[in-house]
Structure formats: C-alpha cells, structure tokens
C-alpha cells in the first residue's frame, strides 16, 4: 500500500490497482463509464478525469482508471479543471444521445443522467441532428439493444471476452459510425447475458423481461441471496411497491460471485411471484380440505406428532439455517427422523457460477447434522412412516408431485408449503412464506453464509415457517401454555 492524498485526506492506496479504486474504496466519488471493477480498464470514455499532482510538476488532469497510485500523489477529484473536463466530456456524450429518459428503463439508475446532473451539464450546444440508428435491436431472448443510446463504453464487449471468456459482441466499424454488434445478427447465447444489462451505464442494453415493467424509483430493494443453486450468489431483490418481484440483480461479492449472476437465477422471479399460494391452514375432514384457523392446523400437527412414534420430517433444501435448527429441535423433541431432500445435480453446471446443485442450503442443513436423501428414497421412507411432516418451499415439487400424490393413505401427511398439496395422504397443510418473503440464512457450497431478506410482503394469511414453529412449540405439552388446550 502507498499513502496518497485524496481531496485533502491521506489514505492508503493499493499501487497495483488503478487510482479510481483507491478513490472508490475511500468513499470518494469518481464517475465512470468504461471502467468497471470486474473488468480490465480501458480509459476510453474519459469521464473519470481527476486532477493529479506529483512532485513539483503542476497538477494535470488524468483518467483515474489508467493512473496507478504512487507514494505522495496528491489527487483532487473536485477541482475546477476536473469538473470542466468532465462537463466537456458529458456534452460530447449527450450530443448524439437521444432524449429517451421518459421511455427508457434506465431512468433513475442511469449514469449519464446522474453525472449530467452532478456536473450541471443541462444544455448542449449541438445544432446537429442526432444520428438515427436501430432502437429495438433484439440480441436474442434476453437483451434488447438501443444503438442510439449506446455511449460505446465497451463494457459489454469486454464482459463476454473476460468473464464467460467467449467473445460474442464487438465494436464494429469505427469512429462516429461505431456500433456494438454480434456476428451477422446472431443472438447472444449462454447463461450470463443478463449481466450486460447491469453493466450498461445507460439504457442501451436492457432486459426484455424487465422492459417497461417498473420505474426503478418505485422498487423496494433489499440485499438477499439467490436460491437457485448452491452458489448462493449475492443478489438484490427488487419489488415493485404493492406488487411483485420485478428484478433480481447481482450484488458485488468478491468471495462468491464477483459482480455477476447467471440468467437462470436472474430470471427465477417466477418462483417468487407464483400465484395460487396456500393461505392459512387447511385440514382434511373426511375427503374435503377445509380452510381452518392456523392454530387449529398447528394443533393437528402437534397431536399427530405426540400420538405417534417414529414420525419423519422431510425438509426442503430451501429451508434456511434458522428453519433447519427449529425443525431439528422439534424432531428431537418428538424423537422423529429428519432429513432434507437432496435432488440430483442438474445439467446447468458451468465454469463460472452455476454449481449444478439445486440445493441452496445443502451445506447449511448438513452442518446442522441433518442428512440429505434422494427424493426416491424419501418418498419410500414417507410411505413407510405413520406420520410425515414435509416442510419448506418447493418440497413437494422436489419430492415429486406425482409421487406425493400417490402416497398411501396409511401415512398421515402434514405439509408446510407455499402451494396447496394434492395427496390422499394429506391431513393438513399450512401456508408458508417463500424466499423473498422471510429473512434467514443459507450457506453456500464453500461455507459462506448469505442472508435472505423479507422484501415482499407475504400474501394474506401466510406466515414464515419459523413463526408457525414457534407457535407449535408454544402449543406443545412440554410448555406451560399448551396445558390449557
């Protein structure tokens, strides 16, 4: 590390990383387009210009992304010269950039808007017509390119070259005719396309699935973790106020996913938004499932557990560490067996992020001492049990809906699930919150813990599994409260 002065403050800077990193790491804002901490630096956009003084030489305006910190360097990111140079740069960028803000998805999180606002670059001098280009160029299933908005930062080109390591985009032609292109209009491929929409500093690259879905300032955003595989990429869940999850976006995490996430996880918002949720509790009376108060449902579970020996708890691999802990205690109290469903690896494994293991909390549950078992084995074990409690998001889907449906009526099946369960063995089902509706912890394949956050309100009558288990404990005879029931 070397000591440099930034805006009057002496800070430590890593001399092997560009100056812009030293600024950002020390909470000093320096604008950037072509620079991205996850990609190699280029120094082409020229927006990150700061004034640098070294030794006796007069201060010079330099691009921070291609300047290495040197001991004793004096940096001023707010000098008049630095601001003037940035303002000039913005005027050049805004010359051809269309005034699309009212119809552009990026508005509200656009670096061009933000820096133009910061630098006070409100009016341009250009009397020239803007160059007309393709505004809705499909780059495949995931991305739409608006060539007019592109400021040629080349982040998207570098992303494919450096991250999935297979070039898919290029800058074609040159100079003022430059256009981001694929080869012969071939669509983009691969599981990492969505990242270029995040990377694009403006609204040139947008997600087809997010297009016109929401204004970003109406999104409630919270840090969470992706649950679609055991990588547990750090993500941000973004929910439209009063409505659905609109976006998952990656959060930077050096230890897990860098700056990226895969498309499979990114577009798994369907699970979070699925309709047909199980609300409250439903208890089987004869052959009909009747909507009942939750407490009645919990009492039914309690009675079943108390009356039997050898109950079986089957957990979803989506259960959090906290839920696993609570279910483990419950199982111990009732001397029940406990296991989590461990489906086979899928074919989505790649060289980058997706592990191919669909269990987001395999390691977390295993570390608690809960063993995993295959769906096939577990359905056999359930069929052989007197009482079985299946708990957690998507547990029935993973066991196999058909297999669960076919369970013999000799089993008393109790389910804590997101969606109604169809099974003649079913005695009672209670609705639970899904992975964006309740907080908790999952542990990824490397042992790194990731938080889940309650970003979206659960549907009416639906509570987190932990709440149900707390109430169940309260209603059990080993606690004083339940004596009255």
């Amino acid at each position: 590390m070397v000591k440099i002065t930034v805006n009057g403050r002496v800070v430590d800077a890593d001399p092997t990383k560009p100056l812009i990193r030293a600024c950002h790491d020390n909470d000093v804002d320096v604008p950037m387009y072509c620079y991205h901490p996850g990609l190699s630096p280029v120094g082409s956009c020229r927006i990150c210009q700061v004034e640098v003084k070294q030794g006796e030489a007069p201060g010079r305006v330099m691009v921070a992304c291609r300047t290495q910190p040197v001991e004793g360097m004096i940096v001023d990111t707010e000098s008049p010269k630095a601001h003037d140079t940035r303002r000039e740069c913005l005027e050049f960028l805004l010359k051809n950039h269309p005034l699309d803000c009212p119809i552009c998805d990026k508005a509200g999180e656009c670096d061009l808007q933000d820096y133009a606002y910061d630098e006070g670059q409100a009016e341009g001098r250009s009397n020239e017509p803007r160059r007309p280009m393709e505004k809705r160029k499909s780059l495949g299933d995931v991305i739409v390119l608006d060539e007019e908005r592109c400021i040629l930062c080349s982040r998207c080109v570098r992303f494919f070259e450096e991250v999935p390591k297979k070039a898919q985009l290029t800058v074609s032609d040159l100079g003022s005719r430059s256009i981001i292109s694929t080869f012969m209009d071939r669509p983009l491929t691969g599981n990492y396309q969505g990242n270029i929409a995040d990377l694009c500093p403006v609204g040139a690259l947008t997600l087809k699935k997010f297009r016109f879905q929401a204004r970003v300032w109406n999104l409630v955003k919270m840090a969470s973790t992706c649950v679609e595989c055991s990588r547990g990429c750090s993500i941000q869940v973004e929910v439209l106020r009063g409505s659905d999850v609109k976006r998952f976006r990656p959060r930077a995490n050096e230890k897990v996913n860098g700056h990226w996430m895969c498309d499979y996880g990114r577009f798994a918002i369907g699970h979070a938004n699925a309709d047909g949720r199980l609300e409250g509790a439903r208890i089987m009376e004869g052959v009909t499932l009747l909507q009942s108060p939750i407490e009645d449902g919990l009492c039914a579970v309690r009675d079943a557990l108390m009356s039997s020996k050898g109950a079986l708890f089957v957990l979803s691999p989506y259960c959090t560490v906290e839920e696993g802990q609570a279910l483990l205690e419950l199982a111990r109290r009732h001397r029940a067996e406990i296991a989590f469903v461990s489906p086979a690896a899928n074919a989505l494994k790649d060289d980058l992020l997706h592990t191919g293991d669909p269990c987001p909390n395999r390691r977390g549950l295993s570390e608690l001492g809960i063993a995993g078992d295959t769906p096939l084995n577990l359905t056999k074990r359930i069929a052989a049990a007197k009482v079985a409690v299946v708990a957690g998001e998507r547990v029935v889907e993973i066991l196999g809906a058909a297999e669960v449906k076919a369970l013999p009526a000799t089993v008393a099946l109790y389910a804590f699930e997101c969606h109604p369960v169809e099974a003649r063995a079913l005695r009672c089902e209670i609705g639970i919150a899904n992975h964006v509706e309740r907080a908790g912890t999952v542990v990824n394949l490397d042992g790194i813990r990731g938080p889940l956050a309650a970003v979206k309100p659960a549907p009416r009558g639906v509570r987190a599994l932990s709440r149900h288990l707390e109430d169940l404990a309260r209603l059990s005879p080993l606690s004083k409260e339940s004596a009255s029931r």
Binding site: A167, Q168, T170, S172, L174, S181, F183, M184
Partner: protein, 156 residues
C-alpha cells in the same frame, strides 16, 4: 466450408513470422479479399475465425475497422478515388463525377451491371501527383477528366 488450401498453405507460412498467430489476420484478410471475389463474406470471416482460433465476431470487429476491406460484394472493378485536401484542391470532385458517369456506378456503390464499384477514400499518398484513382490496386495519377475517362473506358 473452409478456406481454400492454397490460402491456408500461405497462412501456415505467414504465421511463422509472428510470435502470435493472430498477427497474420490482417494480411490474411487481404489475401482472402484478393482471392475470394473482392470482398470478405460472413463465411470467410467464420473460416478465418476457425483458422486463427477466434470467434467470428472478433474477426468481424477487425475486418469492419479497416476501410480497405469490403464487407459487401463489389463490382468486377473497384475504383477508389481520393477526396482529401491535395486532391480536392486539384479537382478530385470532377474526377469522381466523371468516374461515376463513365462507369454508371453511384458514388459508394456498384453499377447495375455489376462491373464497377466507385468509392471515395482518404489520402492515398499521391498528393504530389493529384488527382488520382486507384483502379484495382494500381494508382493512376496526374489525372484530368479526359484521362480518367480514357483509363476507365479502356477497361474490358
């Protein structure tokens, strides 16, 4: 499809000149353009990608950067006319007009009979002998309107 053996044999020798094979790409593009119809087709770009271990999009990015590479078919004869300052000062616009008239090609395009493409280009280094045309790779300099009509008219 792949590149003709004649070309790959050439390229096999060419790449030996450089510590990294890719350096031969631009000379290879020239050779492909010369041998494969005067332009660089998408198939050629794919084939060059295979030869050099590059994605086709990377070859496309390189080929589209350089004005000498035609990424669309051209006429049987290509006339490139400098319209930069020394030539402009000595009547390049008149030469361009005459060339278009004689060949029937629109400026920047190809004649309907497919015989001619006329392009305007930047400084070709013939400034002391301006104005000029480059006809199928040969410079014709110190031109007048009459001379250019004669030169183009003589092409069969």
């Amino acid at each position: 499809m792949s590149l003709p053996q004649k070309l790959t044999a050439e390229f096999d020798e060419l790449v030996k000149n450089y510590p990294e094979r890719r350096a031969a790409l631009i000379v290879a593009l020239h050779r492909c353009q010369e041998e494969l119809g005067g332009w660089i087709s998408p198939q050629t770009m794919e084939d060059l990608g295979t030869y050099f271990g590059l994605e086709p999009v990377e070859v496309f990015g390189v080929a589209s950067f350089y004005p000498m590479f035609n990424l669309r078919p051209v006429g049987k004869h290509v006339v490139s006319i400098c319209h930069n300052i020394s030539c402009d000062l000595r009547g390049a616009q008149d030469i361009i007009a005459k060339a278009c008239e004689v060949t029937g090609a629109p400026l920047g395009g190809t004649s309907k009979d497919g015989k001619w493409t006329v392009k305007h280009v930047e400084c070709q280094g013939a400034c002391a002998n301006a104005p000029m045309i480059d006809l199928d790779g040969v410079y014709h300099e110190d031109l007048t309107i009459e001379k250019v009509a004669k030169i183009l008219g003589a092409v069969r």
